[in-house]
Symmetry: D2
Subunit: 335 residues, 4 copies
């Protein structure tokens, strides 16, 4: 039985509590928040879980193996560091830290102390993303050309981070999961339309080796909510529309074939393929349930994909580079 401590019972924390609590191999033993009304919420719904408004109380408990850090981003580093130094594994919400230096420091500590860092890139555990990953792994899509994601809606403006730090961690972590390759550089543009200087619209391009490119449009000021991702490969192409109630993932037997025998490049013969489209049945298990299950498996030595501190670091590096690029009007930032 793995003992879980949860720090921060805000919007997302209760979901973490619920999922670790129902898993047969884990048990939430303590929750911590400085707001007593949030602790009351835990007491009412989970009488068996202890509560505390002092983080130190969690750190010194022997029955806590992993601490889930569900606090605002700018506190992730300090809390995760204390947890690691106290000998606890950590699960950190996304984005992992405010800077890549912080993420690297956490990774170093974890390595020295032989502890694990998990990052809550929830979307990579959804049925849709796992299905698309399977298509990539089994080479059904062929070699990949690009990843293009649009994540726009009206609001909710954040006061401490721009729209990329708010929305793009989802897309970056998904793209990273799909590409499984080290990005080379980042170019980003954007604009801040209210006078706090935080971009509310941003466009992010990420260059990968082998001509692979990723692009993300994140926007708090769109009249319509769009959650659409295009992924094209040499064999098949995917449209993932997360707004669709069903049929979220559409797989197109479409593409081009380049006839190489042409004598010169200006006369390349391109043939278009267009066959059937299909929507595979998607596993509707709650993403967090899958995530929790895999984290526990991982801690128990079972080999399965989990989003680690390295993945969290990569996401933060890209966000950091994007911010720098925006402030320098699209300057390429090497990673």
């Amino acid at each position: 039985m793995i003992g879980i401590g949860v720090l921060g019972i805000g919007y997302w924390g209760p979901n973490i509590v619920r999922n670790f609590n129902v898993h047969p191999s884990s048990k939430v033993v303590v929750c911590c928040d400085k707001r007593n009304e949030r602790l009351d919420f835990i007491k009412k719904n989970y009488p068996a879980i202890e509560t505390s408004n002092n983080y130190k109380d969690i750190l010194k408990r022997n029955d806590v193996d992993l601490i889930a850090i569900c606090t605002p981003v700018n506190t992730h580093f300090i809390f995760a560091k204390e947890a690691l130094l106290a000998g606890k594994h950590v699960l950190v919400m996304k984005p992992m830290t405010s800077t890549s230096a912080q993420a690297e420091e956490l990774l170093n500590i974890a390595q020295q102390k032989n502890l694990k860092i998990f990052v809550d890139h929830t979307f990579v555990y959804t049925g849709s993303v796992r299905k698309i990953k399977d298509l990539i792994t089994s080479n059904e899509l062929g070699d990949l050309y690009y990843f293009d994601s649009v994540r726009v809606n009206l609001g909710l403006f954040q006061h401490d981070v721009n729209v990329l730090w708010d929305l793009a961690p989802h897309d970056i972590s998904i793209m990273h999961y799909f590409f499984n390759s080290k990005p080379e550089s980042v170019i980003a543009t954007g604009a801040a339309h209210i006078n706090n200087g935080l971009e509310n619209i941003a466009y992010l391009s990420v260059y990968y080796p082998d001509n692979l490119i990723g692009h993300i449009h994140a926007n708090w000021l769109s009249p319509v909510k769009v959650r659409q991702t295009l992924i094209a490969g040499t064999k098949k192409m995917v449209v993932w529309d997360d707004n669709e109630p069903s049929e979220k993932v559409r797989i197109y037997d479409k593409g081009i074939d380049v006839i190489d025998s042409a004598s010169d490049v200006y006369n390349l013969l391109i043939q278009y393929r267009s066959g059937d489209m299909y929507c595979p049945k998607i596993d509707t298990t709650e993403a967090l349930t899958t995530e929790v299950s895999r984290i526990i498996d991982n801690l128990n030595g079972i080999d399965t994909y989990v989003s680690t501190g390295e993945d969290g670091l990569m996401t933060v590096k890209i966000l950091e580079a994007a911010q720098k690029s925006i402030k320098n009007r699209g300057k390429e930032i090497k990673l």
Copy 2:
């Protein structure tokens, strides 16, 4: 009666012929193409129109006031130059020229000889674009925040230009028409997935004064056809979906209000507005019919919007800058 000569009877030329021919104040007097079978097409359908496979024949005719140049892009400059030097007004297909230097030279000649250059930015004459322009002019949208356009589909790969030169002139000319402002700089990214070095996917950001930003995604390698443009203003927001058979333009009474009285910028209070949406009835007149009518009005001294050589130059400048930026991985190119 304005006499029209048409050079190039390929895909688009016949539409030019048809529209000038039915207008009561213009008359197509001669068509020119080096391919006899294209001239036969004209002879069969328009027995009253003369044909020639020698451009010089058109240039020296006194009954030709304007020459429409419907040939491949890389020939626009030489044919338009000859037409202007022969004292003819010109209507050039989009994009106007292959380089901005060429466009500038044409503008200089036209000015010296007191002739007009029109550029066939057809989309700005569609009912949808004219309706949105009306909303902007009447301040129904308020001050604009951004223009975001997606124009993607599978194929048709061009052999001489990349996807931006092929698809983006539409979006650039529309954006330019809406913004009516001089852009500052361009940042573009993209990738060429077949080995002729021409990008088949590209992302273009254009910075305008006053924090205004434009973005265009052009793509020949998408499994689905998307033609969607978002335009947000301080008062209202627009979604224009040109794939919709009806209800192409949706106007949302949505937006944010920033409460300025907050003591510090980190605590700006943002309120969200969300009211009715409406789809105005859109004039379905063929865009080219409106364009031809306005060109004739313009030549007759009537004040109306037409897309001129200056607009054509601006589009070419942006395309040229975009190409340079892509080749330099997102380097900002000042305009």
Copy 3:
């Protein structure tokens, strides 16, 4: 303060409890169910509410003014009758009873004892339906032509009633609310594809005076979920798509004008109108919250629309006639 007793804490009962409990002028004093685990659910979530597994206990309480009957349909009559005889107002779930004779008996008892019967036709309290009703009342739609509703999906097959008794009460009560007119007759067709004889697909036509017609398609065996209603009037037309996450109600300025001056009916001149479309902002208050509030207002003598026993009777009459018509292959059943 109006005291509420709730009978039946199944799927819908808890929503009834929750809504009456938060209203400032009502208070749920007792809940009754024969299943102890359902009473435990109430005890845990609402410690202040008493529980009982004996309906007689509720009937004799002086602090109960209204009893909400949330039990299976075939028990509505007996429980409602006992409640009325005990001097309680009743709120009965839909459909009100299994037969129109039962509904009529309840109405008689209520009249004799000066008590109120409310029927939980929840949909008439939704923002969408109230908005459409406003359009009808204000004559924005003009005189109505027809009501056409499709309510289809895969499952959930009921074991005791056919698809009309399961799904159509929604549409019938909405249509009845919109038309506010006494229907003349019913024609229905359908088929039972599994061997219990209960129709899983059915089509219901209802004739109203003045050439008004209603039609409902109810189906448990459709691959896709459709919730779409068309309402046409002489001035405007409405499409209500309840599957849409937003923009559920679309109002079309479309229609026909008949030019009466034609000399003979075979040459009637019909003109088509097609103008703007708009989607009004829809109140998203939970329907049951509005319903509970109006029931309490009604009991307090405030004039507002509520769905009464008469409305419940009309719905049952139509369902009863439909069933008879289906069994007689479309025979017209007068109402």
Copy 4:
């Protein structure tokens, strides 16, 4: 080489001319219309085709093997009869005749004279319908449950026939093609909202053996254009949306399984299946091209599906019964 005469060069006639003219084994030799401007149209576009405004001229020509009758419905019978009596095969537009008695008389004459009658049920030759038919024939859908079709839009009101005679022949002929079974009876309802007594909205149910049911909603007074057909079988279900530019046919691996071992019918255990969905690539050949090709094959003794006079008769019988049922408020009309 099969010689074709075409009678009636209105809206549809030119398509018939074009398709027979390009087929390598047929040749349009003469066209007939009483309107000289329509004959001029033929002369201009097809100089090799002779024209006449006297039907007798066609009838007596030896080089005409088949006459295509593209005139208004109420003239189909007389023209087809004359053609058959003159020894010509006929292709009659839909609906075949104004009454079933007329259709039967034509069939008798054809049989006596050993001639063929084809009926232009164009939709059965579309790629979508042929694909669905293949799924039925190969038993991929399993046994069929129902056919449900919605064909609604605003206008075009006809002056001589009601909405069923105008729109439903498409759906009836498709349903007949799919079911390949003799219908038992028809029930229809509808309303005429303008004072010429012709229904502008109608609902048609058709009962087939083995619990199979068909339903068609035809409507000239809908704010939106809908062309959607649902077909459910024991194994799979189909949604055909003809408004979709691509992905017109969606095939759902969905359905129910009834567990028969239940001891009584009221406790039948129903299990729901929900698997992948796919959209097969649909042949986009023009339907009329396929139709013409098959007619010629049929005349040349090649075995292939064509829509015959028997199919035309069945469609007319159903329409006739539907009209009778509407006028008698849903009375079942046996076929």
